[in-house]
């Protein structure tokens, strides 16, 4: 195995651990009395520490170690799981995550100065220990529990081969550090030979340590229980020689520590000093050695390659692969039977071969499904990130909320998960920012002061539904109507239905919020959600009830790679149209079509006229230029409805989409190609792209832009 492979295993594990830590902390916040949550977080942080150390990310390991120490106090009941403490842990988790991400890009996870500052931060909570620790009752009655400070003189004269007994002197010294304070440590390096003679696996050093600790001599001795027998060491209690109050260690401290302790600077000063440190690239630019452009181009390329590298690996549940292997096995059995039959007398075995071929096909279908399933991942991680985001946003806004999660185990294609994350974030922002009222307002309305945000996912009819609901104020239909009139989307006399008004908020530039808020008022409306979900062949629906809340419901196909298509014939060429975009199909007569301004053709559909489109004219494909098309597919691009004129429907077909970009440039309006049973290639239409191609970037409203609502 290559080092790179190990590092990849580490990053996958680290992602997993970070998620477990976060999940545990959020659960702990809800159930502070649940010891299981702490234990789970503790275990994950612990594993984080040792696996990071194993691959050489010492800073990550060191920081995880500090977090672990603090968690240990929580676990043993010496600290209470207060909100600020849990927030501190969540901050710690974020920092670990940043560090892992930096490490994955080959950057230094944290500079020593930053690490020091973070240590101080955690140390602050460690300091609370004295306040929160219950003072022991009647200490006089427990003389065995010696709580006095002791001073131990420890002489570590390990033999040269200590390394090969599995011990690391540094680790042993760190263990001592955990038991108390190392006041003095003297290293004897007289045994170190000249550089060319050094054997890296031989221990040449010995140490004399002065340890201040409340632990008993036997506890100190335990640290060395696996080495004591073979290696000379001496531990003496020398408390008498060190009068209380003298701190001989002061001289050893770092200047940064001293300045902080003396209150001359605060951690923020330190942080600012850190921020002023310049990156190497920037320094080079300032010195005129490199141009700004060169630097940013190189950095962008580097970033791209790094993200690509991380995106290309996935972690797969082994039983999915096992099933896959089983199907392949069966398939090879089927095929060998077929060839066996063929070798025999062909006459008698014809039926048998056909039956076997049926089974082969069945198996292939299952293998295809299984391969798709390998790409599927539960939404759990995404939901967790969203939960965290909602929590942080609400805190920022002074809103209080409970978050409920249902169906986090629902699985979705890995690519799709990545692509729906942003739209989901947007809905969450919208819910927290606009939907949920501040606690006082809620109380006035007779609601619980705590808002409820629900994240829900489920699978139905080959689609994944993801819903984000809040129990806030609901959509203000009157405000939407006014805004729509203002933007000339509706005429002042229009009588739109509630559902029609609700859909309007998905249009570009539509925001009813009067003031720009910190959260969702970034000049980007919910049209981004609509855009992205449509691109994925999905659908956004809004359910809202005034005063009771709003639900954003997104349905998306299970995978991007397979599509249910309607194969149509247009002038002798066949095309596939995604079934999800087709509202209905109807026959057309010449009198149904009306030409406006001598070029735009319209078709009457449900009491109004919608644009009628000829594919041959748009794609420049061969076809008839006359009006002899017999059917029209009514399509919904989510921006508008339009009719696609065609000759006939050939079949419905499930196809694997093949991208065109590898061999051709991407063609607007075409999502890709599919290979048909006879080996010919059929283009798959991208309705969303087609809409763009035909109507440009103009605003639509389901073809009702002219205020022609019924």
């Amino acid at each position: 195995m290559e080092n790179r492979e190990l590092i990849e295993i580490y990053f996958t594990e680290a992602d997993d651990l970070l998620q477990r830590i976060e999940k545990g902390l959020l659960a702990l916040e809800d159930n502070p009395d649940e010891p299981g949550c702490i234990q789970e977080v503790f275990r994950a942080v612990h594993t984080m520490k040792s696996s990071a150390a194993m691959v050489g990310f010492d800073t990550i390991s060191e920081y995880a170690h500090l977090v672990e120490n603090l968690l240990d106090r929580l676990r043993s009941g010496r600290l209470q799981p207060s909100r600020p403490l849990i927030s501190q842990f969540l901050t710690g988790q974020s920092l670990l995550k940043t560090m892992v991400e930096k490490a994955s890009r080959g950057e230094e996870p944290l500079s020593p100065v930053e690490l020091q500052a973070q240590k101080e931060q955690l140390g602050r909570f460690m300091g609370l220990e004295g306040l929160e620790e219950p003072s022991p009752l009647l200490p006089a009655l427990s003389p065995s529990e010696n709580r006095q400070d002791h001073y131990y003189q420890i002489h570590l004269a390990f033999k040269e081969d200590l390394f090969f007994s599995g011990q690391d002197p540094l680790m042993l010294i760190r263990e001592l550090q955990d038991l108390g304070e190392i006041i003095q440590i003297k290293t004897d390096h007289t045994r170190v030979p000249r550089l060319p003679d050094i054997d890296p696996f031989v221990l040449y050093l010995t140490w004399k340590i002065l340890l201040k600790s409340r632990q008993s001599l036997s506890t100190i001795e335990e640290v060395f229980c696996f080495v004591r027998d073979e290696h000379p060491l001496k531990i003496q209690d020398v408390t008498g020689r060190f009068p209380e109050g003298v701190d001989p260690g002061l001289a050893e401290k770092r200047i940064g520590d001293l300045l902080l302790e003396e209150g001359i600077i605060n951690p923020q000063d330190l942080q600012e000093a850190i921020l002023e440190q310049k990156k190497i690239g920037q320094v080079l630019v300032e010195k005129g050695k490199v141009s700004e452009n060169t630097l940013s181009r190189l950095m962008a390329e580097q970033e791209k390659s790094r993200t690509q590298f991380r995106k290309s690996t996935i972690r797969v549940d082994t039983h999915k692969l096992d099933e896959l292997a089983n199907f392949v096995e069966e398939l090879s059995v089927n095929l060998s039977r077929v060839s066996h039959e063929l070798e025999k007398n062909a006459q008698s075995s014809y039926r048998m071969v056909m039956e076997e071929m049926d089974r082969v096909e069945q198996n292939l279908r299952e293998i295809r499904e299984q391969v798709m399933r390998v790409r599927m991942f539960p939404l759990e991680g995404t939901f967790q990130r969203l939960q965290r985001m909602a929590r942080d946003l609400a805190a920022q806004e002074g809103k209080d909320l409970n978050i409920e999660i249902h169906g986090a185990e629902t699985e979705l294609d890995k690519d799709l998960i990545e692509q729906i994350t942003d739209p989901l974030k947007h809905c969450i922002r919208n819910a927290v920012d606009h939907g949920l009222e501040p606690p006082e307002e809620r109380q006035k309305k007779g609601k619980s002061p705590k808002g409820l945000l629900t994240l829900e996912a489920f699978q139905r009819e080959g689609k994944i539904f993801v819903r984000i609901s809040d129990d806030g104020r609901g959509l203000d239909l009157d405000a939407i109507f006014k805004k729509a009139v203002e933007n000339r989307l509706l005429s002042p006399e229009a009588q739109p239905t509630a559902a029609e008004l609700q859909r309007l908020i998905l249009l570009p530039g539509f925001s009813t919020s009067r003031e720009v808020s910190d959260l969702s008022g970034r000049g980007v409306g919910l049209d981004v959600v609509q855009d992205q979900i449509s691109r994925l062949g999905g659908l956004v629906e809004i359910f809202s009830s005034p005063g009771r809340g709003t639900t954003f419901s997104m349905s998306i196909p299970l995978t991007l790679a397979v599509m249910e298509g309607l194969r149509i014939d247009v002038g002798g060429e066949s095309y596939l149209v995604p079934v999800s975009s087709v509202l209905t199909v109807r026959t057309v007569e010449e009198q149904d079509l009306k030409t406006i301004e001598a070029r735009e053709e319209m078709l009457r559909f449900e009491e109004k006229y919608i644009p009628a489109v000829r594919l041959e004219a748009i794609l420049g494909a061969p076809g008839r230029e006359d009006n002899s098309h017999k059917i029209a597919l009514i399509l919904d691009s989510h921006k508008r409805r339009f009719a696609l004129l065609a000759d006939q429907i050939l079949e419905t077909k499930q196809v694997v989409i093949k991208g065109l970009e590898a061999n051709f440039r991407s063609i607007p309006g075409v999502a890709g190609g599919a290979i048909l049973g006879d080996g010919s290639v059929c283009l798959i239409l991208d309705i969303y792209g087609l809409d763009r191609l035909i109507f440009g970037g103009t605003l639509g409203g389901n073809g009702r832009t002219n205020g022609s609502l019924p």
């Binding site: 190990l6 040792s50 696996s51 599995g166 955990d178 335990e222």
Partner: protein, 125 residues
């Protein structure tokens, strides 16, 4: 001659680095992700009338931790197989528990491959 080592650890990174290092040195590796799974592996070996030369176990694992695992191993026919404990400095208080349970050695994480191989050689002769 083939030597078999059972590695019990819940961290894929640790499993991978241990296996890599030991397999390169010619050892056969069996893996388990916690104490419970480790016992199952041993039970499986017994059924096939096979044995094992060394067990390397982590301490902090879900389902069944390393200390309990060692205690359970000592109740089986594998009780004479040396157990090497892999752990970190924070588990200090567990060190003597591990020794009492019957651990033969203690290896600090992180370790270097040379160190691991040497310790393993100490137990497998």
């Amino acid at each position: 001659m083939n030597r078999d080592i059972l590695i019990v650890d819940d961290s894929p990174t640790l499993q991978a680095s241990l296996s890599f290092c030991l397999e390169n040195a010619g050892y056969q590796i069996l893996q388990a992700e916690n104490g419970q799974k480790g016992l199952e592996v041993l039970a499986g070996l017994k059924e096939q009338e096979k044995s094992i030369d060394l067990i390397i176990t982590d301490i902090n694992m879900p389902v069944m931790d390393g200390i309990r695992f060692i205690r359970e191993v000592k109740k089986t026919s594998f009780r004479f197989v040396p157990v090497l404990v892999l752990s970190t400095e924070t588990e200090r208080s567990l060190k003597d528990q591990a020794k009492e349970a019957g651990a033969a050695g203690w290896l600090h994480k992180p370790f270097r491959p040379e160190q691991l191989l040497w310790v393993v050689k100490k137990f497998i002769r």
